[in-house]
Amino acid sequence: METSFLPTAAEYLRLLPETILIVSGTILMILEGLAGPRNRKNLSPLAIAAILAAMAATVAAAGNPGPAFNNMILADGFGAFFRMVVLSAGLLAVLCSSSYLTREKADSGEYYALLLYSMTGQCLLSTANELIMVFIGLEISSIATYILAGYLRDDARNNESALKYFLLGSFATAFLLYGVAWIYGITGSTNLEEIRRTLLNPESGASPLLTGVAAALMFIGFAFKISAVPFQVWAPDVYQGAPAPVSAFMSAGPKAAAFAVMLRVYLTAFPSIGDGWQTMIWLTALGTMIVGNFAALTQSNLKRILAYSSIAHAGYVLVAVTAYSDTGTAAAMFYLAAYAFMNIGAFAVVSHFSRTGEKYVELNDLAGLAQKQPTTAALFSLFLFSLIGVPLTGGFFGKFYIFKAAIDSGLIGLTVLGLLSSAVAAFYYLRIIVVMYFHEPGDTMDTITSPAPGIQIALWTSALATLLLGVFPSFVLDYATTSAVLVR
């Protein structure tokens, strides 16, 4: 028996970001109830303050890394990195949401509470060191996101989106849970480090075949969350139907957290079956890149284009995961950070441009945006260039590091095919830019107003971050490289 079960102060500090998010979420929820429907206030400043406090807590907790609460979470550099990515994604989503909700007359504290709870789940996922925590974190993150996807419940598209996401998501989680049960049956533990020790110990009698099946079952759960082929079908419909700021958040926050937990689980717990797992990821990565990029070519709805593009980008990150090396992990981390900013930036433009009821989300509606609002068009182009991977943007270095890591691991075929498919991707991104700059403005441009302050801050922050990551990538990459070693 252990001497004391009481957590120390350092352990509380390691859980502080989540604690702040939970407490503020609950306060927002109560404030909403107290205010009543008459005197509603915009509660987004409180949500922003909470996220900034959680970011500060993450930095503070990173100064004293280590496990907490009986090894349930491990607040190390890797966890801190993904906490920051998730929190940044959440911050930008809140900034976009404020004006969006006012426009749709759906401003309420519950929205922000759900967003904060969802981020809590993702922060827990980034640091989870135990399969039980993985499951609970994933459920918290997912259930909050399901509700957010259907938040404007009078809108049929929202309903469709939430229902599809919920049904398929629950199904995927069941697979994950089944895999966890198998792992517990094989190793007698749910702690990642203990699983690793048991599996690497030749006397434990753990069958690699059984472990492989368990790992594959868990992979189904994760692959759904990152929308990897063949579990990607939900993404376009859900992203199209959900409110634009929610789609922005969904494509960055939950995805980054799912990658974080996938990397940690497979690198920490399953080194014994590394070869078989690499083959599986190889196939998934290739399929995800090809399906995402080719399906996006035929789309005319902006949100669907961005949804397919987000599938393709999950494929690039999977290439880095396939590399199965420290540089690969670091490249995946860097890419997810860069991707969060450029993709939320792009969705922020869509959120601004679509106007009340999301009437204008077709590609042709963008015609002549550059004449009416040159700044918005220029920022949108920057995000699109970054998504293509043009130099001086974060997307360029992200892709560069990913394919470099793949070549270092001898994945020449996957690299060539990946580069070819990202060349295909340039077509549909450039098409958006062409429509914005070279088409005459139609009458859809008459009702456009200048972006709300929240959207403007989100746009400029994302643009700045995208450029910073493109010009000075070493700052983030160095941190990713030092923390990538931790999960091995």
Binding site: N70, Y117, M133, I143
Partner: protein, 164 residues
């Protein structure tokens, strides 16, 4: 005695599970599910896990199934009509794929079954052990689950209240 009871209730569980899928009326499916839950509880009991057996009965066969039946009654769901054009995909692939999955799973379990598996009545996990584990080692997951439940309540309020 134990093996005989095991096979009886294992058979009941499998039959009820098949009946759950085959039945056309939702209430009959729900009742079959209660059969599955109940037989599983007895299997746990045979292993010596009284607490899990009780939890299985109270939570699954009790609370959750009542909710299921309640929803079915509330929606007044009638007999399921078979679709006009059954999907050829499901017909052609469904059963072979199911048999394949079953085959793979039983092969893997057969091959990898650890030596000296648990015998009947050997499991020691009473309420005391479960409680101790929940409030010491697994304190954080236990507490964090409350957030999960809170989100579910909040979601129900958001999606069902009168005006947004």
């Amino acid at each position: 005695m134990d093996p005989i009871l095991f096979f009886i209730f294992a058979a009941v569980a499998v039959i009820c599970a098949i009946s759950l899928i085959v039945q056309k009326h939702p209430i009959k499916s729900a009742l079959s599910l209660i059969g599955v839950m109940g037989s599983l509880a007895i299997l746990y009991l045979l292993l010596g896990a009284e607490f899990i057996a009780a939890a299985q009965l109270i939570v699954y066969a009790g609370a959750i199934m009542v909710l299921f039946v309640f929803v079915i009654m509330l929606l007044n769901a009638g007999e399921e009509k078979s679709p006009a054009r059954p999907s050829w995909f499901a017909k052609l692939l469904g059963i072979p794929l199911m048999i394949a999955l079953l085959g793979i799973l039983s092969y893997v379990i057969q091959r990898a079954a650890p030596e000296g598996s648990l015998a009947f009545g050997e499991y020691t996990g009473g309420a005391r052990e479960v409680g101790r584990a929940l409030f010491t080692t697994y304190l954080l997951p236990f507490e964090i689950t409350s957030v999960l439940i809170l989100i579910a309540i909040l979601g129900a309020v958001v999606l069902a209240k009168k005006e947004l």
